[in-house]
C-alpha cells in the first residue's frame, strides 16, 4: 500500500504539473500580453480553485465529468485520469499566476528589440520571453507540483479512494489514520513531508537567483 500510493502520487503530480505548466504558461502569457475584455474576470475564474474548498472543486468536476455530466462520455471518474484531472485543476492557478507575473516583468524593450531584429511573435516567445521568464515559470511549476502532490479533497470526490489505482499518498494517510494504523500513517506523512521539503528547497533556490 505504501509503495503504490507513493508511486501513484509521484506519477499523478508529475503528469498534472506537466499539463498545468503547458496550459498555464499559455494562459499566463495571454493574460500578460493581451488586453481583452473581461481579462481580470478570466483571471479570477482561473484562480477559483485556489480559494474554493477542494471538495467544491471536486464536486463541480464530478458533475461535469460524471456519467450523466456534460463530459460523461470521457469515463474519467474513479480512474487514474481522474486523479490527474483533479490535481491539474488544483495546480493550474498557481502556475498561471506565476507565469503571468513572470511575463509581465519582462522589460518591453527586449521584445521590441527582438521584433526590430526581424523575429516574429513566435520566435520572440521561444527565444526571448520564455528564457527570460523561466525562473518564474519553474517556481510556478514547483509550487504546482507541491499542490498536486498534496491534493486530497477534489481527488477523493472525483477519483474515489481505490487502493492501488487511485489511492494517492494523502488518501492513504487519511485511510491509515482512520483505521488506527498509526505507524503507517506516520510513515506516509514522513514520506510526503520529505518530498515537500525537497520541492520547497527547489523553489527557494529558483527564487534567489536572478534571471
Amino acid at each position: 500500500m505504501i509503495p503504490s500510493a507513493l508511486l501513484i502520487s509521484l506519477l499523478v503530480a508529475t503528469l498534472s504539473t506537466g499539463l498545468a505548466v503547458g496550459f498555464g504558461t499559455a494562459a499566463g502569457w495571454l493574460l500578460a500580453r493581451r488586453a481583452f475584455a473581461g481579462r481580470e474576470l478570466v483571471d479570477a475564474l482561473l484562480s477559483l480553485p485556489l480559494v474554493l474548498p477542494p471538495t467544491v472543486t471536486g464536486y463541480y468536476l464530478l458533475v461535469l465529468l460524471g456519467r450523466r455530466g456534460w463530459l460523461g462520455g470521457l469515463a474519467i471518474p474513479f480512474t487514474l485520469a481522474a486523479c490527474v484531472v483533479a490535481a491539474t485543476v488544483m495546480a493550474f492557478p498557481l502556475v498561471v499566476r506565476a507565469a503571468r507575473v513572470a511575463f509581465e516583468e519582462i522589460d518591453p524593450r527586449q521584445r521590441l528589440a527582438s521584433f526590430s531584429l526581424g523575429h516574429g511573435a513566435g520566435s520572440t516567445f521561444w527565444r526571448v520571453e520564455l528564457p527570460l521568464a523561466r525562473r518564474g515559470l519553474a517556481a510556478g511549476a514547483a509550487l504546482g507540483f507541491a499542490r498536486a502532490l498534496g491534493e486530497f479533497g477534489a481527488t477523493l470526490m472525483l477519483a474515489g479512494n481505490i487502493p492501488g489505482r487511485t489511492q494517492t499518498l494523502p488518501l492513504a494517510i487519511y485511510e491509515a489514520a482512520m483505521t488506527g494504523d498509526n505507524s503507517v500513517a506516520l510513515a506516509l506523512c514522513v514520506a510526503l513531508t520529505a518530498v515537500s521539503v525537497v520541492v520547497l528547497l527547489i523553489v527557494g533556490r529558483l527564487g534567489r537567483g536572478r534571471a
Binding site: L62, G66, R67, R68, P77, F78, L156, G160, N161, I162, E175, A177, M178, T179, G180
Partner: protein, 240 residues
Amino acid sequence: MNAAFIVVLVSAAISLKAPLTEAARQFDASSPGEPVTFTFGSSGELAAQIEQGAPVDVFLSASPVDMERVAAAGRIDLATRVAIAGNRLVVIVPRGTAPPSELTGLLDPRFRRIAIGNVKTVPAGRHAKEALVASDVLERVEKRFVYGENVRQVVDLVARAEADAGFVYATDLPLGGDHIDLAFEIPESLHKPIVYEGAVVAGAKAASRARAFLKFLTSAPAQEILAQRGFLPPGTTAPK
C-alpha cells in the same frame, strides 16, 4: 464553562441519521437537560477519532467490531455498552437498470462499477465483503469496486449512476429517492449479524445525560422510531 454551552455530543454511524435526529428531538422535548447533538460518519472513522481522544459523550457504532476497537483502547464506559438496533444489507441499482437477483448476478459484465463502503472503515462494506466471500465471488468482482467513505456516499454513487450497483442497508433506500431500485436483500446467513451498539465514552463531560439518552434509545418510544425507519430490534439478528 457556561452550562448553556454544554451539549451531549454523539458520534453516530451515518446510517442512523434519520431516526437519531428524530429520537433526539423527542428526548430533548420530553426531558430537560443539555441538548443532544450529533457528528455523523462511518463507524471506523468515528472510532479512530474517539481513540485519538475526540471529546464526545456517546459512540453509536454500526458494528461491534468498531465498538470493540474503542473498548480495547479503554475509551468507553464498558458498563454502558448496549445493542440498540439491527439492520439488513441490500443491493441497489440505478433506476432503469435490470436488477440482479442474487450476488452471483453481479458477475454480469454490465455491472462495470460496484460501489461498496471502504471495507476498513464502513461496516456495511465489511458485511458486503463477508457475503461476497461466502458466495465465492469476491475475487471476480473486487476489481470493479469503487469505494465510498460511508454508506450514504454509496447510495449517492448509485443514485447518480456513477456505479452500476451498490451495497447499502435496507434503511438507506429512502435516501436514493426515485433514482435507485432495490435489487435484492442479501441473506443474513452470508454475513456476520448487523448490530448497532452504543456506549458512553470514558470521561464524557455530560455523562449522566449521555447515559439517559442511551437508555432512551432502548426504550419503547425510540425503538418505535427506529422500527418506522425499517431498523430491526436488537437481538433479532441471530449470531452465527
